[in-house]
């Protein structure tokens, strides 16, 4: 029983991390039809930047802020200088541009931070463990769940309860009509892309203490986030949440029960969803 509970909480923690990534990825897809293949690279770079800041200032809070802001700005710059231009109109062009960024960021990370795995130290107040009935659990991971829930609530409130959220939803449905009623859709898209990037950078920092930072993690994380979006459906926040928790749990149980086939369990989950609904659980069309 305690094994089951521990794995379940681990899965939820990882699912929350995946949610932060998939929410951004899914919005980028839904509003702009951009497959951002550099999303995992944003995660990794954000984590590395957070690592350096934490090392020099000993402040986890500053690390989060630094990782989140720098990647948010990086995302905005990439969007403005490349993805928004006329040569990036087609999905395929965007795929190639973001894949080019993936290669560049991966090499830059290896250059600056070296090839060996790193971990961001946990903040002091979140060290130690907590007893939940019969199981022992690190405080830090529970804090990740709390932070994830806060961001989830914020995103939900933003998208469902504010005027700007309504604009984003309108953009997902039909961006030309949205533009037609006088909304600066270009600005909306830029902000969405930055927000998505920022969340990925933030996820990199808060994932740093327990997932770690290593070369190759960018593609691993990208892959998981993409599977979450495939399962949840493009442009759906609810889909991103359900998909992320589902993949988080499948990954956690798969890794402990069938370590050799852990990737296969995720694939099987994806195939089953696609067989039932080719556009994902909450996808449109």
């Amino acid at each position: 029983m305690s094994f089951f509970l521990t794995q379940a909480i681990n899965g939820i923690v990882f699912g929350m991390l995946l949610f932060l990534l998939a929410a951004g990825l899914s919005l980028m897809l839904g509003v702009m039809r951009i497959v951002n293949l550099a999303h995992g690279s944003y995660y990794l770079l954000g984590g590395y930047i957070g690592y350096s800041i934490a090392k020099h200032t000993n402040s986890f809070f500053l690390a989060c802020l630094g990782g989140l802001l720098s990647i948010g700005i990086l995302g905005m710059v990439i969007y403005k200088t490349m993805l928004e231009k006329h040569f990036a109109r087609e999905a395929l062009s965007q795929v190639l541009i973001t894949f080019g960024m993936l290669l560049i960021i991966s090499d830059v990370c290896r250059w600056i931070w070296g090839g060996s795995p790193l971990a961001i130290p946990k903040p002091e107040i979140l060290q130690g463990t907590i007893y939940l009935g019969e199981i022992v659990f690190p405080v830090y991971r529970l804090a990740v769940i709390v932070v994830g829930v806060f961001i989830l609530l914020f995103l939900w409130w933003f998208q469902e309860r504010t005027k700007y959220g309504a604009i984003v939803r309108a953009g997902v449905d039909d961006d030309e009509m949205t533009q037609g009623i006088g909304i600066n859709i270009s600005l909306v898209k830029t902000l969405i892309f930055s927000l998505g990037s920022l969340l990925a950078g933030f996820a990199g920092v808060i994932g740093g203490p327990f997932v770690g930072l290593s070369i190759g993690l960018d593609i691993e994380i990208l892959l998981l986030a993409v599977v979450v979006v495939i399962i949840g459906g493009m442009g759906s926040l609810r889909g991103a949440l359900v998909g992320a928790l589902f993949i988080g749990l499948v990954d956690s149980f798969g890794k402990s029960l069938l370590p050799e086939l852990s990737i296969f369990t995720i694939f099987a989950a994806m195939v089953i969803v696609l067989a039932i609904k080719p556009s994902g659980l909450f996808g449109m069309k």
Partner: protein, 313 residues
């Protein structure tokens, strides 16, 4: 060039390629073999991307499946090379993976399909990476024997002889793929690329046509995988990796999607650049990444069409 009779042009081209090893040092002969292998890979991807309008970020799955199949038969089962069996099994296994995958994924479309194919191929990569007992895990499988063609007077351990072996299969597969895209089936695919709804109302079964194109393309990709594994005498999970799939995509775009020669030229350019740049700097991935972005910015139609336009002017 225009005044030359087309078959004559092709004959001259083949003659030039055939004479190439006489002028090149062995290293470059080997490099050209690799270029032809990836040319087959890029052309096979173009059947999907350029002719059917189904861009794929998972094409390495088929190349890698065939490569692994050959490697496992070669190293674990036969302990030597049975070319005929390995060749056929390799290509059929790539086709089989496509046949199973196609059943599940081809109902999805566009960007969504692109992501699904990427995820699927990376799952295969994950399996190869973890499965140490059969596939050697992340170390891959070394020690693959090349086919024995001594009855033809060929010694395939020799770089030049292997070059001719690859060239022969490159010509065969180029002819076969040319026949596919020029057949009525190929024209149906072009129709699907231009307008699915129109083709549907003409009575075509769109799904089935796509499915067949998917399998045919996968089998040609498997073909390149078979040649690659003998060339390297080694197989590793990177043959299945997203990076390899994306390389196929950039080869097609750089050369020009929707033509068969274009992707072959694109493959040559990418292999050359990768080889030279990685010789000069450790940070060749930055250069390669920049190349992806520059291609989209300056040659989205491909260098083949760019050159054609320049010649016409």
């Amino acid at each position: 060039m225009k005044t030359l009779y087309p078959p004559l042009r092709v004959t001259i081209l083949i003659a030039c390629l055939g004479l190439l090893p006489l002028f090149l040092p062995p290293f470059y002969t080997g490099l050209f073999s690799l270029m032809f292998i990836f040319a087959i890979f890029a052309m096979s991807l173009d059947i999907l991307q350029g002719y059917t309008g189904l861009p794929s970020l998972g094409h390495a799955a088929f190349m890698g499946t065939a490569a692994y199949m050959v490697a496992v038969l070669n190293v674990k089962v036969f302990k030597t090379c049975h070319f005929g069996v390995e060749f056929v099994t390799g290509i059929l296994s790539a086709g089989a993976v496509a046949a199973i995958l196609g059943l599940i994924v081809l109902r999805s479309r566009g960007t969504y399909l692109l992501m699904i194919l990427m995820a699927s191929s990376m799952m295969l990569w994950g399996i190869a990476f973890k499965w140490r007992s059969l596939a050697g895990g992340d170390d891959g499988l070394p020690g693959i024997a090349r086919p024995d063609f001594s009855w033809l007077g060929l010694n395939l351990e020799n770089t030049t002889h292997y070059y001719y072996f690859v060239l022969f299969f490159f010509i065969i597969s180029a002819i076969l793929m040319g026949l596919v895209v020029r057949s009525s089936f190929g024209h149906t695919l072009l129709g699907i690329r231009e307008s699915e709804t129109r083709m549907q109302s003409l009575g075509y079964n769109i799904w089935l046509q796509k499915y067949i194109a998917f399998i045919v393309s996968a089998m040609f990709a498997g073909f390149s995988g078979v040649l690659l594994v003998y060339y390297n005498r080694f197989v590793s999970p990177s043959e299945l990796h997203l990076v390899t799939s994306a390389e196929g995509l950039i080869m097609v775009i750089l050369g020009g999607a929707g033509t068969l020669w274009g992707p072959a030229i694109g493959a040559g350019i990418i292999i050359l650049i990768k080889n030279f740049v990685s010789g000069y700097t450790e940070h060749w991935m930055i250069i390669l990444g920049a190349l992806y972005i520059l291609t989209v910015m300056f040659a989205p139609q491909g260098v083949y069409r760019l050159a054609k336009q320049l010649v016409r002017k």
